[in-house]
Symmetry: C2
Subunit: 475 residues, 2 copies
């Protein structure tokens, strides 16, 4: 097996090599940027979806699915929105052997598919709030370099769309989404900052946008999700009105919450190491792999013990894989470490006799799993591993962010930077030029450390309105 490129000095090479070697995705499909979800990657994605579904449904959101094809006239109704997307949508112009009367857009996001129907669903204040979500694929004719999970042409996508009575109710929904994402990200072990985007970088058609950004080494960040407040920007053009208790007709205020397969890319990027992928248990295709260690004198009892252990864990609902192939144990260790399985259980002669397996988690911590309390012991080992993984990620997160007090400190930065910004666009662009990247905006929920307040804008020196902002080089 070839060694992986160095993660620190050649991050993207490492990332691409890990995904290929761990068989998370196959990019040898005949169209650039359209990749194949291989079984191992698909299982991770399915577990990710399970987390999203659990957390969003706990907030009362209901699952729906709208069509993938959007008529051109509906797509064009909100002007900012179409301006933001028309350079990157796929057009369906022909059905069978005939040209279509109305061309169809392959959804790049679903506002324009959903909102004409919302206008039918919403009649009265009793229909509100209307909170629905869908998990579907969206399509973007990406012209930049594509990367598995990060930037791709068919994107596995989560989108919640809601209608609220007024601006304040929509703000409450935004808060609820921020809290839901905190629970989702925790299950994935992903630290992040929620950052309100500058006006020039908000979602096309939004009143404001909040992005979730996670550092992925050096000055790089990856946006792993976003929440938007639309006010009446879409409900106006799409006519989504309700009768208020006083009998008046009012436009709803809307919000959306978007996530994608980037979360899987972030998990690879944030947790991965020189040995390969590291999966948090909730996402891992297999939480546990069991490796029998053959011993000539012991014979049959070893594979039998390994099977018994696997069966006990399977019955307890664990995603477990028994690797009873012919390779040497060392080759199996390598194989499953590369693929990020959280916990390995070794069953050799001693283990088969004592009925206590040796456990080694993906961070190298050893432990014991007794056959007769296997479900409980494995749960404990996985919980320890999950905590240690989160701590490691949080330490790396803190180390990757530092303060820049001058424009010079932004230039050539190998950290994500906190810097003073007065909020003016002109200064924002100077910051972006200095770091050769983006001003992500002001943190929305505070910072996880106490760094006081900045005294002046790094660009203009003014103290007025100046707060900490985050600047980085987004992937």
């Amino acid at each position: 097996m070839a060694e992986l490129p160095d993660r620190r000095t050649a991050f993207i090479d490492w990332y691409l090599a890990v995904i290929e070697a761990a068989e998370l995705s196959d990019k040898r499909y005949g169209v650039k940027g359209l990749n194949v979800w291989t079984p191992y990657g698909f299982r991770a994605r399915r577990n990710l979806d399970t987390i999203l579904i659990r957390e969003i449904e706990a907030t009362g959101s209901q699952p729906v699915e709208f069509p993938a094809l959007i008529p051109a006239n509906e797509f064009a109704k909100e002007k900012e929105h179409i301006k933001g997307f028309d350079a990157e949508v796929y057009w369906v112009t022909r059905g069978g052997l005939t040209e279509l009367d109305v061309p169809l857009v392959l959804r790049p996001t679903s506002e324009t598919a959903i909102y004409p129907v919302f206008a039918l669903w919403v009649r009265s204040h009793k229909d509100l709030p209307l909170n629905v979500y869908q998990i579907v694929n969206v399509f973007r004719y990406e012209t930049k370099t594509t990367r598995p999970f990060f930037r791709i042409r068919e994107i596995h996508f989560f989108e919640e769309h809601t209608c609220q009575t007024d601006e304040a109710a929509a703000t409450t929904r935004v808060r609820s989404n921020l809290e839901a994402f905190r629970r989702m990200a925790r299950a994935m072990g992903l630290p992040y900052l929620s950052i309100r985007r500058p006006d020039w970088d908000k979602f096309p058609g939004a009143f404001y946008s909040i992005g979730f950004d996670t550092p992925v080494g050096g000055a790089r960040t990856l946006q792993i999700g976003s929440v938007h407040h639309y006010r009446e920007n879409f409900s106006g053009p799409y006519g989504i009105r309700y009768e208020a208790p006083d009998g008046s007709q009012r436009l709803v205020h809307q919000t959306t919450f978007g996530l994608s397969e980037r979360l899987l890319g972030a998990i690879v990027a944030v947790h991965g190491d020189a040995k390969g992928v590291v999966f948090p248990p909730a996402v891992a295709p297999y939480e546990v792999v069991i490796v029998p260690i053959p011993h000539a004198a012991a014979g049959k009892p070893i594979p039998e013990a390994a099977r018994e252990l696997a069966e006990r864990l399977r019955v307890a609902g664990r995603r477990v894989r028994l690797d009873d192939g012919e390779e040497r144990p060392g080759a199996k260790y390598y194989h499953w470490e590369l693929r990020g399985v959280p916990l390995r259980l070794e069953v050799g002669r001693r283990e088969a006799e004592s009925r206590i397996a040796t456990s080694v988690d993906r961070l190298g911590t050893k432990g014991r799993v007794a056959f007769d309390s296997a479900a409980v012991d494995v749960a404990a080992r996985l919980a320890e591993f999950e905590r240690a993984l989160l701590e490691r990620a949080e330490a790396a997160f803190r180390d990757s962010i530092s303060i820049a007090r001058t424009l010079d400190e932004l230039a050539g930065s190998d950290h994500v930077r906190l810097t003073g910004w007065c909020g003016r666009e002109e200064c924002g662009h100077r910051i972006e030029t200095a770091i050769n990247g983006a001003l992500l905006g002001f943190p929305e929920e505070g910072l996880p450390w106490n760094v006081g307040e900045p005294t002046q804008c790094v660009a203009c020196g003014s103290a007025e309105g100046t707060r900490w902002a985050v600047a980085s080089r987004p992937l």
Copy 2:
């Protein structure tokens, strides 16, 4: 509430009205044949998918997902296949503001997306069998009248694709699929016949096709799935070869297994009645609805008891809905009967005091559910209901099929017909003309009743090669 049309005399009207009234699908999207999955319908679909995933993964099939867009050149490689589909595919011809060099087909089915990649995945006999499946949406530019779930332009689709060493191994996989479908259909309470299609009606590119057909009233049948043996018909053009143990290069033999949202349409059509939808428990969005019966003298204990019961069932993993709205109990009964909830639990004054709820299942059978053994009692009531529902469906299934011994008996038939057929195409077409429908073919796994053997072909009178065949008017 308007009454539903009569199911016997106006089946399609009844079907459309039930789907609309039960809020399973919304057809008011701006494009004909593209419907919206509303929350209630989506939940039923999700439960259906869970059944399919459980049963197919139990046979060792692995989940994957291939892109929705297929390059024109790959799409065109197998001649029969493209001939079968080119009048009904959507073409993507433009990306952003530019014409695409290679137009893309929106997958109508995924052979031509998957097989170029199979050619990369399969190298040696050790890579075989290769059994993978995906659950995705497919697209067909349908020109006939569209109907929710039955005939639609964006179809929720299950497709297994496999590669086997030789024809016999592929036949074994076909058998395994037939058994898997038997388990799936049982969970849905759907009786059916598996029927090998006449050559003129097989899947484009198949060596042979087996359809699963369920009667839906009168002479109508609905094809609810199919399994195909492709032999080397696709592996040839796509170059899917492996090195055999003797060192020779051989083409794989392939099979596919396809299912779709038609299963949900079949569940509505087969189990539904004058009151609306009837869901088998495994598919029901809610297995149980709890209705409190207010009583002036009893006061608070009733809603509290209803909540306790709901919570007990929720903890036990049941999909339960507490209907604590303001409508009268009778209106709630009507609402949830229309939506096909298998079991209703009523909690009034007597029930709150005795801690024993009254249960009424969707077929009208009454029973009791004690609060303190609610999980066990509900499981028992649901199992009884499931059995009764299956028995009702099987009785209707038997009643809907009868023997036709003359072409006259086929004409104007109000039954699905068993009839003697010698296997010749000319006679097959005479049968189709007589019944004004289709000859579905010879039953593949025998008939569920002992009807002996037919003595002569209904068309030509010959005894040679004559067996029972099934003729119907497919929806």
